[in-house]
Assembly symmetry: C2
Homo-oligomer: 259 residues x 2
Amino acid sequence: MKIAVSGKGGVGKTTIAAALIRSFAELFQRVYAIDGDSDGCLGFALGIPLVELSAIKPVVEMGEQIRKLSGDGAFYALNPSLEDDDLKEFIYQHGKINFMKMGDQKKGGSQCFCRENTFLQTLISTLLLDKNEAVIMDMGAGIEHLSRGTSRGVDLMLVVVEPSINSVNTANNVIRMAQDLGVSKVRIIGNKVRNENEKMFIEKSFQHQEMLGFIGFNENIWLSSMNPSQNASGSDLLEGMKEIREKILVEAGGSYRKG
Amino acid sequence: MKIAVSGKGGVGKTTIAAALIRSFAELFQRVYAIDGDSDGCLGFALGIPLVELSAIKPVVEMGEQIRKLSGDGAFYALNPSLEDDDLKEFIYQHGKINFMKMGDQKKGGSQCFCRENTFLQTLISTLLLDKNEAVIMDMGAGIEHLSRGTSRGVDLMLVVVEPSINSVNTANNVIRMAQDLGVSKVRIIGNKVRNENEKMFIEKSFQHQEMLGFIGFNENIWLSSMNPSQNASGSDLLEGMKEIREKILVEAGGSYRKG
């Protein structure tokens, strides 16, 4: 099961992705959490200290190492030999969560993130998973990861939407472009919903079968976003995510649930 | 005076940029408003109807037309002959606001937005302005427009920050990368500030001379984001932006104010 989390900037992609990753880690044996945003903060949201985060090597540099390990340039090595010390500089073990990041800081005016996106796409497409493993990838804001095709090869594209026209418009672009990429399922999560009116606004904007669920506006998340030590909690969200996780597993035919 | 508006996804870049553009249009004879976001909604925020927006040709297609007009491939034509009918398909006149957009919708998996960013950078760098003209450009979420160097050539980089660690971290990356690009001034606007505590959080995160001002959290903007007919208003913001505009003009040495 490979999942990408997308949506307009600021809708809460990373918060939702982090809660979903933690929720999947309760059931699955291993969850690969991939920060696919060049301005990403998924690792931080998962509670990995900033100093450790900056020490992790980005996956874009993983290629040569994998070729060394597997000999034939395939990504085979990412699975059976994942425990191998040779890949530990790219994969941060955080309980059952295996965290990776797409890219690293760059100098202003130096280059785009095309190479990082291309590598990530290859990685996702060729990664072989056991039934008790999942990949959850937090994408960059907006639609360029779709025009680039970074998320080609995921089974499910989640689009986070807040009660605003602009985030609904972005979601509709994501739906259209994900279809271009051959992503078979695209589902919406309504976020920051404060009342019935805002919920209805999102509900009316999509087809019934596209809606996966709603997460209410959370004052604690707003407040904790100023305090690094609380940033990892997000436990308020986990209850809401459980229902969403169940729906995802049902849609996947239940074949992934193993523990 | 060329200004770029940047920051983490969701901090309110487009709302702030639109209010600043309207505020500058009160004083200046012409304000070029450029949507530099591949997932942009600046035109919508300025009150341009969606159907008209989609009819505007993106500046990335402007090159050939300019070469035809100017003969030598320079961007000279953008200034004296701006009224020329030949460029009207790229520039939407909206009162004193001349709106342009960087790119257009793409098919999923088709391509990156590198070409668009490169063209935009050339356009900004070579655009000659009269003293009573300004350019205000709304950038994409995050930092790739900086690693690409899209905003090289602006006089002032504004960074919108909300009361969160993540948006402060992004702002610090913007400051670092803008220096790499040779952008001489980078200034912070605190947004969505609800109380003294949140204001202080932002103030403490930057040097005093970097702070340009604060915009309070605005319930009306939240509510109007669901209603297309109200989306153009944002008039609540204009008062706060006036003070910020004055500071920008003082920093620019007052030489730009003409009316």
